[in-house]
């Protein structure tokens, strides 16, 4: 993992352990948006990982049915 990806991943982890318990888990997907973000950062690096995570959060709203939505494997992209 690049230092940038590692830092971003750490920030997401910090969110999971501090803010998320306060505002509650509201994700409509599995894996949850934050878990998805961390996995995407590992698999796709800082830039593409962040982009994937952002797109996922934008999908995570009441008008989307949700469900199982894994991180695409690098080959798929």
């Amino acid at each position: 993992m690049s230092p940038a990806a590692l830092m971003l991943s750490g920030a997401v982890r910090a969110y999971e352990l501090t803010l998320r318990p306060v505002i509650g888990a509201n994700c409509r997907f599995h894996p949850s948006c934050s878990a998805y973000a961390r996995e995407a950062l590992v698999c796709h690096g800082a830039a593409r990982g962040s982009l994937l995570a952002a797109k996922r959060i934008l999908r995570c709203h009441p008008f989307n049915p949700g469900g199982y939505d894994p991180v695409p494997t690098p080959k798929d992209s």
Partner: protein, 582 residues
């Protein structure tokens, strides 16, 4: 195994509490005092201020500084005080509408401080003369044209420099918090004279600041339309590193600058058409705690006083409470740019300011700021309710789904990940999903943060009572469970400041616990543990926050629980409105 986890969890929570105590000491010190000032007995001299050059705003001349010289009394509807005539110093302003504590007989709030005391804080106006003409300084004794300055009686302070120049400060005060100061020079000589009028706001000590990341206190100003906030610490650091103690400087037309507390402000605004140089600087003085924090204006170009003529420069001086309506009023009538930003609305001002006005309106309507907070929170919840409940539109199926979920639980016993995955897929195929999603959550965060911030910074909440035991929403709940709410006559905070948890924070913690009960817990065990600890951590964290904030937090939790319950009831109710397809 379980007990080990418990011990670990306890150790972790105490660790967090310990760290939090340290952080809180650093970032949220106990509610600060108001700079209160009594008459001093020990006249002292102010040493050289930052900047040099004769008569510059920075170089109040070395000796001088008299504490008990003659004074000009000031009396206006909302403020009173006096002006030190030696040096013409605005160092004594008392706000008639604000008491230091909720007690009726407590002293009025004094927002300035005399030099020689422990909290010197003052404003001065003066001139710099490049040609070396004699200009007034700290030892200049001014002659007032009347005994008292009131809205009906303007007063002119005069001083003859003995070289053909008469310096005048024409003072007016209005019915709120504004002085108008016209710096006039009369030239009786045969040659024109050039002067640079200046004004400065000075504090010769660093107050105990309540400052945190939601609230700014210290020197600030608007230069070229942009707000600049320079905290005491940063100002000192930068000032000590640079020549003349200058930490920040800026040039441009007009603007305003001053020093602010959480609720009070002293600020000067020059003529808005004049090109000004603004400087924030730090210097060493004998007064106060030894450090002088100063922010000043000086005209960029000299003003020429023709032979036999006169030349004037008019500034406004605000000394008062940061009531948004009053700041807006002055912004409007004197064209002071972004004057309302003296209230720390922050970068989300486009959210915080409307929220403030909504709260303020509800406050005047209900007469209780606590009620205003509660009604407003209901409004915000209603606004977001459609988002939260949309997922339950095609409903009546939640109940029918229970057996399927139970079946899945049986099927994936021991494999949490698989179970989660299958449950989510089931939600998808059945077109119901109990979660509202991360995006709506993300959208709500700025709104709730803004509300939190407004509640924290607003003067309207100062000494505003709620019901029962809450007499002041802007200070922590005074009750304490660690002495059984006063039954045991001792102060547990003597042992540790953490040992103060009032009834309201406990109610808040309980509502948070309830709300979490209704939320799905994440599968990750570390997150799960944090989930369980959060209500406890938050109870302690919020125990020392203003009661108004705790009230908001608790009420918000209760509404969340109610909303969830309502949605669930609708979802599982006996009358499914839309029949299941296929």
């Amino acid at each position: 195994m379980d007990s080990k986890r418990l011990i670990l969890a306890l150790a972790l929570s105490f660790g967090i509490l310990a760290i939090f105590t340290v952080l809180q000491e650093k970032f949220f010190p106990h509610p600060a005092h108001n700079p209160t000032q009594t008459a001093q007995t020990t006249p002292q001299s102010t040493a050289t201020k930052p900047q040099s050059a004769t008569g510059a705003p920075g170089s109040a001349s070395t000796q001088a500084a008299v504490a008990n010289g003659p004074r000009l009394a000031v009396d206006a509807p909302m403020l009173k005080g006096s002006i030190e005539l030696t040096g013409a110093v605005f160092d004594d302003v008392v706000l008639k509408d604000y008491h230091e504590t909720v007690a009726k007989n407590s002293p009025l709030v004094q927002i300035m401080g005399r030099r020689g005391g422990t909290t010197p804080s003052y404003v001065q106006f003066g001139w710099t003369a490049p040609a070396g003409a004699k200009v007034p300084d700290d030892s200049t004794v001014w002659t007032p044209s009347a005994q008292e300055l009131t809205p009906k009686t303007p007063v002119t302070l005069s001083w003859d420099n003995g070289q053909g120049l008469i310096f005048q400060l024409i003072l007016k005060v209005d019915d709120k918090y504004m002085f108008t100061v016209t710096q006039n020079v009369v030239n009786k000589g045969a040659a024109p004279v050039q002067v640079y009028p200046w004004s400065r706001v000075v504090r010769d000590y660093k107050p105990k600041v309540e400052s945190s990341w939601v609230l700014f206190e210290g020197p600030l100003g608007v230069f070229n339309g942009t707000l600049k906030q320079e905290g005491y610490g940063a100002l000192k650091d930068k000032g000590e590193k640079s020549a003349g103690g200058v930490a920040y400087s800026s040039s441009g037309p007009g603007g305003w600058t001053g020093i602010t507390d959480k609720y009070w402000l002293a600020a000067v605004a020059p003529e808005q058409t004049a090109q000004m140089n603004a400087t924030m600087s730090y210097g060493k003085v004998i007064d106060g705690d030894g450090g002088a924090y100063q922010t000043s204006f000086i005209t960029d170009k000299a003003i020429t006083v023709p032979a036999g003529g006169q030349a004037a420069f008019t500034s406004h001086l605000f000394t008062g409470a940061k009531v948004v309506k009053i700041l807006d009023y002055y912004q409007r009538i004197y064209h002071i740019p972004n004057f309302y930003k003296a209230v720390d609305f922050g970068i989300l001002y486009f959210l915080t300011k409307p929220i403030f006005f909504a709260l303020d309106w509800l406050n005047t309507l209900t007469g209780n700021f606590g009620l205003a907070i509660m009604i407003f929170t209901v409004g915000v919840k209603l606004l977001f309710f459609p988002l939260a409940s949309y997922s339950y539109r095609s409903m009546g199926r939640m109940k029918a789904m229970q057996p399927k979920i139970a079946a899945l639980k049986e099927q994936y016993k021991g494999d949490n990940t698989k179970l989660q995955q299958a449950t989510m897929e089931l939600y998808k195929t059945e077109k119901i999903n109990p979660a509202s999603g991360c995006l709506p959550m993300l959208l709500q965060i700025p709104v709730f943060f803004s509300l939190y911030k407004v509640i924290f910074i607003t003067i309207e909440m100062r000494q505003a009572p709620f019901y029962g035991w809450i007499k002041d929403l802007s200070v922590p709940d005074p009750t304490n469970i660690f002495n059984l709410f006063g039954l045991i006559p001792y102060d547990p905070t003597m042992i540790s400041p953490l040992l103060h948890v009032g009834l309201l924070p406990i109610i808040m913690g309980f509502t948070m616990y309830l709300q979490q009960k209704l939320n799905p817990t994440p599968p990750d065990p570390a997150q799960q543990r944090m989930f369980q600890l959060m209500p406890i951590i938050f109870t302690f964290m919020l125990a020392r926050s203003p009661a108004g904030l705790v009230l908001y937090w608790a009420w918000n939790n209760i509404l969340s629980v109610g909303q969830q319950w309502l949605i669930m009831r609708r979802a599982m109710g006996p009358k499914p409105t839309v029949p299941a397809k296929g």
